[in-house]
Structures are given as C-alpha cells and as structure tokens.
Symmetry: C2
Subunit: 235 residues, 2 copies
C-alpha cells in the first residue's frame, strides 16, 4: 500500500518565506502520517493572484536552482517522501510559466497509476447540495481512466479571490478516499492506496476502460452506424 497525502495550504501572495514555512509544516505533518507522496497546491511558492505580470516575473525563478524545488528536494530527503507541487517558473525562453513538478530526494519521479494535481481553484457559485464542478471533474477523470487522483487546493482569500478548498484523494472507481475538504481552512488528508489497483482497467469480464476505447471515432464519424456498437458477431 502507498500512503498519499494532500495538503490544503494557506499561502501569502509574494511572501516566499511564509509559503515555504507553510509547506514545510504541512509536509512534516503528512510525513508523520507516513505519506509516500505529498501533494501541495499550484503556485505554492508565490501565491496566485498576481497584480501584474511584472510582479510574477519578480517572484519567478528558472528551474535550474529554483529555490522552491531545492527546498522540496531537501524536504523529500529529510522525510523520505516525494513531493508534487506547483511553482512559478521563469522559462529559458523568457516567458513565465505556471508549472508543476514531482520531486524526490534525487530530484525527479514519474508514475502512471496516480495523477497528482497541485491546484488553486478559484471559488464560483455552487448550487445548494451540490459538489463543486471541479471536484466532480476529478472524480469523473479518476473513474474514466481508472487512476488515483490526489488534489491539493488553496484556502483563505487572496486579493479578493477565494478558493474551492476542494482537496481530495479519489480512487480508480471515482469515489473519494479522503475529502473533499470543502472548508476554507488548512488541512492534510491522507489515504492508503493500493496503486496496483490502477493497473487493472477491467470493469467487468466484458468491459475495460482502456481496451474498449475506439480512437477511430474520436475524429469525424464515418459509416452508417453513427453511435452503434457491435454487441455480438455471431451470425
């Protein structure tokens, strides 16, 4: 089993030290729960609601030597875990990037059974009794692709923007294993995940979420059976 943690963080726009401290506290808390992977939000180093491109540019750094990535690598090593998070990147092309990375002690990692999503989801109106559409989309994506998805969102207003606070860990069936938080407060959620379950894409003996795809239909539909699926080939 793999223990996944998502950390819903309160970040301060432009306050790199405060954000680093919030990240460090949350990663320590997740590590204390034996997290093998810790997901933190989008733009965890800088905050999100930049007043101008100039402000973002002042806060951005190139990937090589990026202070947040170096700090995450140090944290990953100290706590023997892996960190996925978003950061503000100054590209080698001179453009600014809203980037994300997965960092372990050695600096890199990739996994196909789990999608780690560091997000800042600006809040929008949600009908009474409904889950926010962002959360619904994550559940649907997990189920459609048969994967685990771990989302770390923001909390607390930033320059008039509030957040969904929808941190969650969804399993391959699409149902939450932890969360969604849906509260405007910091939170660390963990779930023990059997990542091998994501390798089994069968729904039933007759259905498989990947093998049953029909890429030929993604383009223009041709032929006489606009939506028909062959159900039997016995004549």
């Amino acid at each position: 089993m793999t223990t996944i943690a998502v950390c819903q963080l309160e970040l301060s726009i432009g306050d790199l030290a405060a954000n680093a401290a919030a990240t460090e506290r949350a990663v320590a808390q997740a590590a204390a729960q034996d997290a093998d992977l810790v997901v933190i939000p989008e733009l965890s180093d800088t905050g999100y609601v930049f007043a101008s491109a100039a402000e973002a540019r002042e806060l951005a750094s190139p990937v090589a030597g990026h202070p947040a990535l170096r700090r995450w690598q140090e944290l990953a090593g100290r706590h023997r875990t892996v960190i996925a998070g978003g950061f503000c990147e100054l590209g080698s092309d001179g453009l600014l990037y809203n980037s994300a990375a997965v960092v372990d002690e050695s600096g890199t990692l990739a996994g196909a059974d789990l999608i780690a999503a560091p997000v800042n989801w600006p809040a929008a109106a949600v009908p009474a009794g409904e889950r926010p559409a962002e959360v619904v989309k994550v559940q649907a994506s997990a189920s459609t692709n048969g994967v685990f998805i771990a989302v770390a969102d923001r909390c607390r207003d930033e320059r008039g923007v509030s957040w969904v606070g929808g941190s969650l860990i969804a399993g391959p069936s699409g149902y939450p294993l932890a969360g969604p938080v849906l509260a405007d407060q910091p939170a660390v959620l963990t779930a023990r995940c059997d990542l091998a379950a994501a390798a089994d894409k069968r729904i039933t003996a007759h259905n498989d979420v990947l093998a049953d795809r029909r890429p030929g239909l993604y383009g223009p539909v041709t032929g006489e059976h606009a939506t028909g699926q062959p159900v039997a080939d016995a004549r």
Copy 2:
C-alpha cells in the same frame, strides 16, 4: 428556451408491444409538458439483458423500416417533438448493433449544444452519500464541454440486473437542472434549457473551455515545461 425531457422507463425484455406502449405513454406525458426533445433509454425497443446473441438477433431489425424508428417518427409528428433513443439494430453487415438515433417528424436531426444519452446503466455498489459514478461522469462531461446532457436511464430489474435509475438533465455548468432520479421507478423529468448558452464556451474573460485546449499536448509531451502553461508574455 428549449424544453428537454428525459423518460426513465420500465422495459420488458423481448416484449416489443409493452415497450412500445411504455414509450408512447412517456412521450405523451413529456409532450404534455411541452417537451421539444424527449430522450428515452438505450435499447428502448427490446430490453437489454439478452440471454444470447440469437435472442437479440431475433428482436433486431434493419434501420430501413425499423418498427421502433417508424413508431418514434409517428410519435414525434403527433406530438410535434423530437425523440432520441436507443434501439436494437441488425446492420447491413449482418452484425448486431446497440444503436441510438435522433428522430423527428421528417426522420432526422442533429444538434451540437445538447448530447442526448439513451442509456441502460447496470447498477453497481455506491458508497453511502455518494452519487453514482455514471452520474458524476455526465456532470463532468457537461461542464468540461459546456453542453447540455440529457440522460434517460432504465428502472426495475431485468434478469437479475438492476439499474442506476440515474436519469438527469445537466446544464453546461455541470450541475443538474433536473434529477438525478436515483430511484427504481419510472419518471419523466423536464427542464427548460437556453441552448444558446452552450454556444458560449467562456468561463471568465481569460478562460474558454474549447479555445484553451492544447491538442499538441495530447500526444507525448516534449520540451522542458512538462506541465507548465505560459501565464504572461510580457518580458
């Protein structure tokens, strides 16, 4: 405004007359609520849980002269509406097809602002307090693509298979306008829909669900910014 109706039907496997009567009653009920489009379930003419391919073959008909399609066309004309539903097709290639069609008085129709989904969703275990994953996927698809989706599901057991009973009409924001029913009983749901709203794919002044797609990333990711999005081009 366009009034959409979805009809959750009880069907009897192999009993074409009973299924035709159930469809006729439901379409009349929807038409009495001024429905401009009526969605009925998958395999509405025959039922779903065939005991064998031979049984399905005996119940199937070619599209040309298909009794269900002719009946729907007559109903559409009588009630001045449009019907979308699933039917059992014997293809000209000799294969059996689980097909769907949209039928109006003249026999055809197409629309890009609405997806009509005639389904038979076999029930599976759902954690307490959760919406079934099938419903969640419909909501996510509506929101992701900014379209209306009208789903007509089955009810009442057929050969040991029970159904989600998840008929619903979702709007472009992903939230239900009517349903989901989530009860094992016949139902006719209607919703007045401003289909023109589906033509506006903007979320904010800076976000557009279609224009913001990056098809170049659907294949293998290349370049140094694995997940980064350019956020500003001012240098």
